[in-house]
Symmetry: C2
Subunit: 156 residues, 2 copies
Amino acid sequence: MPRHGADLALLLLSGFRTLVDAATVELAARGYDDFRPTHEFAMRAIIAGADSASAVGRRLSVSKQAAAKTIAVLVDRGYVSSGPDPADARRNRLQVTTRGFDVLREGESIFEDLRARWEEKLGAAELARLEASLVTLVGDGAVDVGAAGWVAHDPI
Amino acid sequence: MPRHGADLALLLLSGFRTLVDAATVELAARGYDDFRPTHEFAMRAIIAGADSASAVGRRLSVSKQAAAKTIAVLVDRGYVSSGPDPADARRNRLQVTTRGFDVLREGESIFEDLRARWEEKLGAAELARLEASLVTLVGDGAVDVGAAGWVAHDPI
DNA sequence: GGACAGCGACAACCTGGTTGTCTATCATGA
DNA sequence: TCATGATAGACAACCAGGTTGTCGCTGTCC
């Protein structure tokens, strides 16, 4: 067994892919096709208070241009609305639409299902242990920042 | 705690990123800058017997054009050599160069070091347990195929 | 010998990023 | 009050890595 260390990295990647691919496929089956993980990150940033393209970019550690592009497709697909900010004419105020909240809620429930399926495979205690180990290794905050930009590709 | 299931996915991603970013940075520090995980996958495919661009594409489940592009940069940077196949004039026979094997060996040792650091943090038994759990969840073969194409971005 | 398949090259395009430049707007301090 | 500086967003050019499609050459097989 050479490459033992690298295999660990691949296992982690593979786990992530398994979940995200399944979620994207399932989301498409439920009527939200062309919804990508990137979009989720952007919407969560908006909900968390980043109500302009620049702010989303900062929150996601990404250039404002990149954020603006993502937001443009989100607006185009009706997940996010954008209008002039009455208080500051430079800004375009962003808001997640009802449809936007819908897709997020669907996504959450899909991920819950996937996790439940893993619990069946592994046992609840063991899965909790795995999560705890990961938190020890990468920290709890790792869950939030900088994940966008690493999740760019199409499933299958 | 909503988003529990999604957090699991993010933990896995974060673990992968932590390892791969660190490895890429360390590799650059050792003189192999602009070497990306994608390149590693392509080189391993060549070593495994895929000695033409089309074959690499098949092995990596990627179009032959995509494989040809990657191989072009690998050849350009001296990690892979390409020459006419005396037995078949259509093909360009690929070979990993000495420098190519060097960078792979460095990469392996870096990943071993990273894994050892994680063992210190978590304990050897617990890390082995984590790996075993992941193998249970995603299967052993998951380590190999289709990982290219998910590892496209720059660290930091 | 002819039909078909595979290889590599080329071109056009997509997505998700990047940097750089520009204008409009706001905020601040002399 | 007004000049200066910072910020928002738009636009353009570019990059990496991927896609599809077309094409010509080469090899294989009937």
